[in-house]
Structure formats: C-alpha cells, structure tokens
C-alpha cells in the first residue's frame, strides 16, 4: 500500500520542454493543489489508522449539503471543495500535519521526484474486441461475410465444456481508475501550482488526478 503523501490535481494538457541537451521532453501539465488538509486521522485515535483527508477545487456553497459544509467549516475553510480524497500516510507525516494547513506543490514535490499518477481513463463505451483487446478481426474478402470485427472462438468442445473465466470479449472500455507508476517530475511552477510530468497521464484534459510519491523503490 502506498503510504506516501500526495496531492489532488487537475490535468491541464500536454506540451513540450527542452532538457539541458536540448532534447524534447513530452510533458503533461497538472495543476496540483492547493489542497487544504480537511482531517488528520491517526492510529491512536478512534480512526485506527493514519491518513490525511485532502480537498481540491472550488464548489459553490449552495451546491454543497450541510454535513459536507460542516466538515469544511471544521477545517477552517469558508468555501466548499469539489473533490475530497483520503491519502494513507505513515504515522510520522500524520503526526506533524495539522488540520487546516494548505498543501501546495512545492511542499510535497520537487523536480526529479518519482511519482505515481492515478486518473480516470477516457471512456470508450461498450467496445468490441478489436478496439478493446487489439484482436486482429477477420479478412475483408475471401468469402468472409458479416464477421469482420468478431472475436472468433471462445472455447473448445466438451472439454472443459465451458468458456474459461477472463476470456477477452466485448465490454466497457475506459472510464476506469488507472495508475501510472514511476513517472518523473520534470519541472515545478510553485507560483501557479503546476507540475510538469514527463509522459502522458490517464484521463481527459480537465480530469481529476491524484499524484503521490511512488511505491517503486529508487
């Protein structure tokens, strides 16, 4: 389990940077934070585990229900937040973080850091096997008819007499939680709370992503 600190952000889009050898680095720009700490959970308390509850993005107060609003007020906020997510952290981090503090990119990340990015992938709807599993389909000619994009056989005969679990078939593609591990922070803009991350990040521009230090070993 990842017990390292992270932040919630919004994917802005992709662009390029040049490194010191003037080589192009493809980067995804993510607006990370500011994330107020809404609650600190500790193992010693009733919660039984160490975690930080972080919020991100503005939301109109009249769109927020009273119990949620109460939670924001408790953390010393006046406005409501759109996204609230919990990050399991180690006991040390939980102990030194106070409710109501606002975390920004500069507090958590620096250029060169290795991170994991979690997003919701773009939804492709109910997709066939060619799109979903990269099956090859059938020939367009040589007598093939009404069968161009089908999946082919899904099993054998009486042995085992059933279709095996996990067979690749059509179904919902995308719109799922996707994690990309071990990405690199190329640059940080503390003024506008931007992180430039090497490579692509799951989800559409404007999608909510969570970024945390990687679980991978250095």
């Amino acid at each position: 389990m990842n017990s390292k600190i992270g932040l919630i952000g919004r994917k802005i889009g992709m662009t390029q940077l040049f490194d010191e050898n003037a080589e192009v680095i493809p980067v995804t720009v993510i607006q990370l934070g500011p994330c107020p700490v809404l609650r600190v959970k500790t193992a010693g308390s009733r919660d039984g585990y160490d975690a930080l509850q972080l919020g991100f993005g503005d939301k109109k107060a009249n769109r927020t229900n009273r119990p949620d609003m109460g939670q924001f007020k408790k953390a010393g906020l006046e406005n409501a937040l759109k996204v609230v997510r919990e990050f399991r952290v180690d006991a040390e981090t939980a102990a030194k973080t106070e409710q109501g503090t606002v975390l920004t990119v500069g507090d958590v990340f620096a250029a060169g850091d290795r991170i994991d990015v979690v997003g919701t992938s773009k939804g492709r709807g109910y997709a066939g096997v060619m799109k979903r599993h990269h099956h090859a389909g059938f020939e367009r000619s040589h007598g093939v008819h009404e069968f161009f994009r089908h999946g082919g056989s899904i099993g054998t005969r009486l042995t085992p007499g059933m279709t095996l679990k996990g067979m690749k078939m059509p179904g919902q593609m995308g719109n799922a939680r996707v994690t990309v591990q071990n990405m690199v922070v190329a640059k940080i803009d503390t003024e506008r709370n931007l992180a430039f991350i090497r490579g692509g990040v799951p989800g559409p521009n404007g999608g909510v992503v969570t970024v945390r230090k990687t679980v991978k070993k250095a």
């Binding site: 802005i12 662009t15 192009v24 720009v29 607006q31 521009n205």
Partner: protein, 120 residues
C-alpha cells in the same frame, strides 16, 4: 486563452531566438549549436523548407537539401535552444504548404521559382 496556451505563450516569449518569418519553399540557413566535448560551435544546415508543422512553441521545420547526390532532411524544433538562428536566403513561389513532391524530383525538375526581394 486557456492555461495551457498561456504556458506555451510564455515559453515562446522566453526563448532566446526571436521568431523569423519562414515559409515553405524558403531556402534557409539553420544555425545549429553543436557540443563537442566541452567546446561548442555553430554548424549551418542550408536547405529548402519543405514542411512547417505549426504549433506555437511546438512548431517544427523540415529542411531538405541534396548533399553529394543524397537527399538529406532534418527536422528542427523551432523552439529548440540548439537552433540559434534561422536565416532566409531565398524565397520561392510555391502553391502548396507541404512540398513533399520535391522528394521524388531531382536536378532541373526540383527547381523552384524565386519571388522578388525578401524583407529581412
């Protein structure tokens, strides 16, 4: 202007080389910084611009020349810090944006018609 456009506009403004008016069909001299060990020198690549892929900060130029009978094409990121200068030598009258047809032409057939004076 959205945030991404704003970021790219800032990067364009921050780059060393100022934008030059380059068009498809121009013969250009591209000054490229080359590092050799700890020394740095400028190499000039001269050829015809056969393609400009526009994208603000992400713009690239494809420059073609025929060197010792062999066609050579280089793609330059216009914003690369290694491209220190782009000089327009001659401008030609061309009727399309991508001059890929030049690849299949050689010798006299590969000539382009120049247009009057170039403003630098």
């Amino acid at each position: 202007m959205n945030l991404l456009q704003q970021i790219e506009a800032e990067m364009v403004a921050a780059r060393e080389r100022k934008t030059t008016d380059v068009r498809p069909g121009d013969v250009v001299k591209v000054h490229v910084r080359i590092k050799e060990g700890d020394k740095e020198r400028i190499q000039i690549f001269e050829g015809t611009v056969i393609r400009i892929k526009k994208g603000g900060f992400r713009t690239t130029l494809t420059v073609r020349k025929v060197s010792a009978g062999v066609g050579v094409e280089r793609i330059f990121p216009a914003s690369s810090p290694n491209v220190s200068k782009i000089e327009v030598v001659t401008r030609h009258k061309v009727r399309r944006a991508k001059l890929h047809f030049l690849r299949s032409l050689t010798g006299k057939a590969a000539r382009l018609k120049p247009v009057g004076q170039i403003r630098r």
